[in-house]
Amino acid sequence: MFIALILAIWAYYCVYDILGPTLIMGFRPLISAFVTGLIIGDVQMGLLIGGTLELMALGVYTYGGATIPDYTVGGILGTYFGHQAGFEVGIALAIPAALLLTQVDILNRFLNFIFVHRADRYAEEGNDKGFDRMMVWTSHIIWGLSRAIPVFLAIAFGEAVVRAVSNFFGSNPWFNNGIAVAGGILPALGFAMLLKIMPVEKYPAFLLLGFIMFAYLKMPLVGIAIAAVAIALVYQQLKYRSQEG
């Protein structure tokens, strides 16, 4: 119960972090799972669940306001349940949890209209003190609770589900293989989403260059990123040379 409460508070902070200060990107699964791992004393599980979910989710965070599976909560629950029953069980529960909460996100973004209408009233009255109070104390409540409550309930009452899932896994190894392969290919969605917002047809050569650097030249990711900056600089220098004289 105590752990459920602490993790619910952590879920609340993760959501608040992206709404406000964006200090640690707590809403990304790598961070939400890692800190969950620290809280429950199983850092390795947090790293595994967080890294796996993060790579699946990569690319879905590309434009603001989009509704996406809630990998934040997925990371927290996945790490917690993974610690109890093993990595496969954790991942297998994290993904459906993230999908289920997609709908909750739509609901809370809708319900937040309450604040804008109350704000209109404060503005009509010229009541800036009341408005400030609303912002500081309540403006994040719907968003925060919409994640904190599911985390609390799942951890406080989810034990039976976890036991059932983990028994099923134990007797059906083929299921593990299915989950593992699916986890490996899900990052394709993230990259496809990134590519969709980029003008691939206009600059196909750059995509190929990146592929060659990894697949044939075996460069590490950081190296590819640095090379990419260099290539973009050279490209723009040549392209805009005439304008700058």
Binding site: E124, V136, N177, A227
Partner: protein, 280 residues
């Protein structure tokens, strides 16, 4: 306007910072489908408006106006608009002018901010951090946190103060193709990085083998052909490329990300359960 009025409108440094910290701590709280970041924007500007519009009626009007629809990238974009808006308020600009500034800049800056920060910078640091985390290194998430904590605050503070100094000039400063050029730069870096990340992060290999019994000089010999090796000989990482291409094609055809997610889950799960694909 007399000189005395101009000086009374001028914000002190602490008043300026008050607006900045309001922006930092609550900018997107209360985000809603109807007017998106409007309440956070009004919250940021209230102490400024209170100072620049001492007349209660004028203040009220500005309060109402600043609750209009607003949405841009909260980290790269919003501080520029807020900083320039504050400078215009100090200069005694009308509400039409300041609303024009907000509406004119929020769209283009959302595009630049989302591409530069969400799509590019974050994808790079989180890919690197995740790969480290999967190798069991605690440094993975810590690296990401460090790459967010200070750079984000610094870049927000820098935009805010720069835009405040520029004031109305910001529109000309950001015009002249600067936004287009920055976006192009980000696009090129992004495409190269994604080109490298697809084969390194998407994992799909087949465990199929093709066995063939041939008779060589009267003896039966079983030949086993490893399909994955054959694929690698044609193009390394062929399956990850194909599956990413499939996801891209589905998205381009207007399928929702959730639909594509389910398709990929099914392909992976069924293929893995039947033993067509090898677990990574």
């Amino acid at each position: 306007m007399t000189t005395a009025e101009v000086t009374s409108r001028k914000l002190t440094r602490s008043e300026l910072m008050r607006a900045f910290w309001r922006y930092v701590f609550l900018f997107q709280c209360g985000w809603n489908y109807e007017r998106m970041q409007s309440v956070g924007y009004a919250y940021t500007m209230l102490p400024v408006l209170k100072k620049t519009r001492p007349d209660p009626e004028e203040f009220k009007e500005a309060f109402i106006t600043n609750l209009n629809f607003f949405n841009t990238n909260p980290v790269v974009g919003a501080p520029l608009i807020i900083g320039a808006h504050i400078a215009l308020e100090e200069a005694g600009a009308s509400l039409e002018t300041t609303e024009g500034l907000k509406i004119g800049l929020m769209g283009p800056l959302a595009g630049v901010g989302d591409t530069l920060l969400w799509a590019l910078y974050n994808s790079i640091i989180f890919s690197i951090g995740s790969v480290m985390a999967l190798n069991g290194q605690v440094l993975g998430p810590i690296f990401v946190i460090l790459m967010v904590l200070f750079p984000y605050l610094a870049v927000r503070y820098w935009q805010f103060t720069w835009a405040y100094k520029q004031g109305a000039n910001i529109v000309t400063q950001l015009g002249g193709g600067v936004i287009a050029r920055v976006t192009e730069f980000a696009t090129i870096v992004g495409l190269i990085v994604v080109g490298g990340f697809i084969p390194s992060i998407v994992r799909l290999t087949t465990s199929l083998e093709w066995t063939n019994v041939v008779t060589v000089r009267g003896e039966e010999v079983t030949q086993t052909v490893n399909i994955q090796q054959q694929l690698d000989a044609i193009l390394p990482y062929m399956l990850p490329v194909l599956v990413t291409a499939l996801a891209y094609w589905l998205l381009k055809r207007g399928k929702s990300p959730i639909f594509v997610l389910v398709v990929l889950l099914l392909i992976g799960f069924i293929g893995g359960a039947l033993g067509i694909f090898a677990p990574p």
